[in-house]
Subunit: 128 residues, 2 copies
């Protein structure tokens, strides 16, 4: 199938699918006459896999790792679990960060009148 069909089936944009070909993550066959990329069902499965992994916040490099594990029938689930646990840990960090950020900001908002006068504890805090 052509690239737009592959894009549709995998839920990615044509640009993204082409990008994944450029960076040699999913390299489809080529139609010799037209030069068009020709995607197999297997290619689409890989695109799907990558799309999901990206949505799970895995980086492109991590996707590459997962993909090679995915394609290796003799891999151990230990490796995959390790990667995933590391990902969870990094998500936890981000959660912590954003949580304390939220706390601080909402504290400031609560102190701020939000009226037409210039006095503003938010700016005061920012300038300390």
């Amino acid at each position: 199938m052509n690239i737009s069909q592959a894009a549709k089936l995998s839920g990615l944009s044509v640009k993204t699918v082409r990008y994944y070909a450029d960076i040699k993550m999913v390299e489809p066959a080529r139609n010799i006459q037209s030069g068009y990329r020709s995607y197999s069902n297997d290619d689409v499965a890989k695109l799907n896999f990558i799309g999901k992994a990206r949505r799970f916040n895995f980086s492109i490099e991590e996707c590459r790792e997962l993909l090679s594990l995915y394609q290796d029938k003799n891999r151990s689930s230990k490796e995959v679990k390790k990667l995933t646990l590391a990902k969870i840990a990094s998500i936890d960090e981000k959660l912590k960060e954003f949580h304390s950020l939220r706390e601080e900001l909402s504290h400031l908002v609560n102190c701020c009148n939000g009226d037409d006068r210039p006095s503003c504890p938010i700016l005061d805090e920012l300038s300390k």
Copy 2:
């Protein structure tokens, strides 16, 4: 003072401070003889302000807005509060995203033996 002193006082890197000058966010005076950037205490206060706002996850453009409010003695606190509330809302979105991501991943990890056998529910899920 020179750039490295300003960087130290504001807790930013020299590269970052120079970058903020390049994008016309904090434009210091110049030593005519040497061409070196010459930072005033006021400049450092602005750098500090920006550093904090960035740590609060405000984008450069938002920092620019906040900075101009900060420098406008007649601004109303309403505007600042509005910006901050919007920032909180966007943080809430991110929190929600990461939270559900975390849930899904930890569910997968719990289903995975993590042993030396190839069977792996994480990859199974990713390939669905």
